[in-house]
Symmetry: C2
Subunit: 347 residues, 2 copies
Amino acid sequence: MQEDSDSIRAIQWTGDSLRLLDQRDLPASVNYLELVDAVSVAAAIRDMVVRGAPAIGITAAYGVVLAARQRYAESPQGWQGLLEGDIRLLTAARPTAVNLAWALQRMQRCAAGTEGDPVPLLLEEARQIHAEDIDANRQMGAHGAALIDANSSVLTYCNTGSLATGGYGTALGVIRSAWAAGKLQQVYASETRPWLQGSRLTAWELTCDRIPVTLITDNAAGFLMQNRRVQWVITGADRVTANGDVINKIGTSSLAVMCRHYDVGFMVVAPCSTLDFSLDSGAQVNIEQRSEDEVLTLADHRIAAAGASAWNPAFDITPADLVDCLVTERGVIRAPDRAKLAVLKPD
Amino acid sequence: MQEDSDSIRAIQWTGDSLRLLDQRDLPASVNYLELVDAVSVAAAIRDMVVRGAPAIGITAAYGVVLAARQRYAESPQGWQGLLEGDIRLLTAARPTAVNLAWALQRMQRCAAGTEGDPVPLLLEEARQIHAEDIDANRQMGAHGAALIDANSSVLTYCNTGSLATGGYGTALGVIRSAWAAGKLQQVYASETRPWLQGSRLTAWELTCDRIPVTLITDNAAGFLMQNRRVQWVITGADRVTANGDVINKIGTSSLAVMCRHYDVGFMVVAPCSTLDFSLDSGAQVNIEQRSEDEVLTLADHRIAAAGASAWNPAFDITPADLVDCLVTERGVIRAPDRAKLAVLKPD
């Protein structure tokens, strides 16, 4: 590993195409895909070339730039109508994270205001979304790290780092900041079945940064807490509803239940683009069900007995009352609820 | 799969050797190892050719038969002293389950009473241990199934079936009995990382019996409960201490915590040979730490980023107060505690 986290650039605009680090191949190999239209960007999001709520929002924003270029070339007058179809396609690529819809709405508003060739303005907007996300991550890193006492150990879940965001990371950004501040004794990462984002991606990012990482199987998290080996569990979020419910990677709600039982802090780190004030509670969120094969096979190798089926929800719902701290770029909300979240509602 | 559960014979005495179904190769292939001495039996237990607390006790008992045959041939006078070394070797093969020590103590007592060739008596004792275990499983199956209401769905963990016992199973025996009684709508099995006993072994056994099985990743158990999809979680035990603490596969304690949170029943099914009255509580049990490679690799394929380490406890400790029902062959103990367990203490 020659790289460090600052050199991990999972989403790159090359000047006339979008380059994505293919996260399905990590950590075994570092491959990039070069995409030139919205159809291939939507496929890359759906097939998890890129994943992580902020990262798929940014990717989709660049996808709109590619789509607008194509549609404007096809029809300098009628491109806006055509672009709407592309935006619908991108919106549908994955249903659960709100950042995708948020970024696409922002791009659509930008497109509506353009005259002549829309590409320069849209590219500027996509770059702005990307840059704002990195900036938000740095701020969340500082806010979250301030909550952590010296000599602490933490457990993180899934991947919320440079690969899942514009750069630096949400939960992993907090861990990076806390590590840089010399506060962390040990960082545990839960492997996060079925896709193994923890062992494949988070461990890769942390070793790139020379932050020692100890993996556990997801089922060992409770015993880790029972043994008082961690003071915080720190996760990201794909969507936070108006009442503070957190939709995140399957298994997050179990960690929150165990944190409460074992009196371990449960911190959720998510930019304001993840907040969804249009939904009252987590019960209203469309939880993506993914293919059974993700559970039944691994690396194209069948692991489960023939004839078995699988239930494979990709996300779950953590009730707000199990969240100790919600960290956004605007600060820390302790014991988040509807009233406290309302302060962050856009005008 | 042509087989059914009655034809799964994971531990077989051939007449002059011990045949073990190599559980490491399931479900991809059904291979048997033929063992003729205690050293290879101890290695088979350590390397998980055979696993499951009752099954390793039975295997070790046959291992004593093989050891006694060898030692008696070497020294018809001094074989008993030599056998003690073999029994120590077998006892040390895996530290956490008590059935191993229990079966070996029983074999040692039997050996102490023999005159002349010890093999016939020891073989009879090993067969008796084996037969008693199957009988206990059938009784536990009936006791446990009686606790389950019609139209229930259940989640089971790890593998506690014919492969883990003398035959039929503990927790899986309860599920078999409840299924046979027409009480079950759906059986969920948690895949049980890192060794995947759920997807490899439990799913295999259930499909052999034509009982439909739906796998989940271990981290999905909480969301399964939140969605009210199961009424019971049913597990086995490797050791139950005098106060009712349950030592079982890593992840069991997390399930128990979540069952309490979501008001789902938590049932532990274990024969009296699993009870350890010599230990006051679970805190005194030696929790086996296994190789990091079990977490970092899968099927000889490295899944984790290079440079990552792992914490890999094979078992965890569920406090007695999280157990709703302990089912033994002698009946059901609700909300087990020291006083209720004492009734089962051998004289």
